[in-house]
């Protein structure tokens, strides 16, 4: 077992522990932190695969933005983010989960069964670096790159529109149009009385 394999198994163990913690925790904060551990392990694995730029992007975008966004929402919801344990309808969900796990296990066994020994080609030190990656991204991938900027723009505007709500009210205020009219009329009469 050489040093690269030791590195791989350490990172893989951390990644799997993080993923299990992310999916199976009771507390959403622990889930988000498990996701963070998994993302850092995957960034280290990218380094082992010669994808230095992607490792940096993984840390900046996932650990820096996505996990923080999860933590913001969990803290905004407060204690309500932890849903109480409820056993209703547990059997079909567990059955679906077991079926998925069995299918995934079969796929993993197939990967092991059909794996062949072939040499992994050597790569230069610039493979996966900013220079080589950027050249490919801005030549063959320029159209999807520009489209992804449009995607991010649309998704941010959509997220604001969805999270803000129709009346721009505080969270928890669900009012029909009639209720809003009634409350406005009540305010008007009370201000007339005081004025």
């Amino acid at each position: 077992m050489n040093l690269a394999q030791v590195f791989f198994f350490l990172c893989a163990a951390g990644t799997l522990v993080g993923a299990i913690a992310a999916v199976a925790s009771k507390n959403p904060i622990r889930g988000a932190l498990g996701l963070m551990v998994m993302i850092m392990g995957i960034a280290a694995l990218y380094l082992g695969l010669g994808a230095q730029f992607l490792a940096a992007i993984q840390l900046i975008v996932y650990a820096g933005a996505v996990v923080v966004l999860f933590l913001f929402v969990i803290m905004l919801l407060g204690p309500d983010a932890t849903s109480a344990t409820d056993m209703r309808g547990l059997a079909p969900r567990v059955l679906a989960g077991v079926l998925f796990a069995v299918t995934g296990g079969a796929a993993i066994s197939l990967t092991i069964a059909v794996s062949k020994h072939h040499m992994i080609p050597r790569v230069g030190p610039d493979f996966g670096g900013v220079d080589a990656f950027g050249r490919e991204l801005f030549s063959t991938g320029i159209v999807p790159f520009e489209l992804s900027s449009a995607l991010l723009m649309v998704s941010v505007i959509g997220a604001i529109a969805i999270a803000r709500g129709k009346h721009g009210g505080l969270p928890g205020e669900l009012k029909s149009a009639d209720e809003i009219r009634a409350s406005l009329a009540a305010q008007a009469t009370s201000s007339e009385e005081h004025g």
Binding site: F8, L49, A81, R93, L151
Partner: protein, 101 residues
């Protein structure tokens, strides 16, 4: 079994963990976290395939776009969680039944 296959097995394990969590959990936040785990599993496989065929960076560019798509998906998904919480005071996906009946 060579080096790349270890990465593929890890990718399969991560995808299985994420998919099982997606099916079993009912808290919408954990559902979104499971989706992120599955997307990361696919990215590991793509980068590993790119390492096996390093003539170009296609796999890494694909993984880059998937990271962008995952960020957009997380923003929209968490906005929907907030919207659901405002409407129903819950984060459980089985109580989001506005289209029922």
């Amino acid at each position: 079994m060579n080096h790349i296959d270890y990465y593929l097995v890890l990718s399969g394990l991560l995808f299985t963990i994420g998919g099982t969590g997606f099916l079993v959990r009912r808290n919408v936040i954990f559902t979104l976290i499971s989706i992120e785990v599955m997307l990361n599993a696919v990215n590991v496989a793509l980068v590993a395939f790119n390492r096996a065929r390093p003539e170009n960076h296609s796999g890494q560019v694909f993984a880059f776009f998937m990271i962008a798509a995952a960020a957009a998906e997380a923003a929209i998904g968490l906005a929907i969680v907030l919207s659901l919480y405002r409407l129903k005071r819950t984060v459980r996906s089985d109580e989001a039944d506005l289209l029922k009946n």
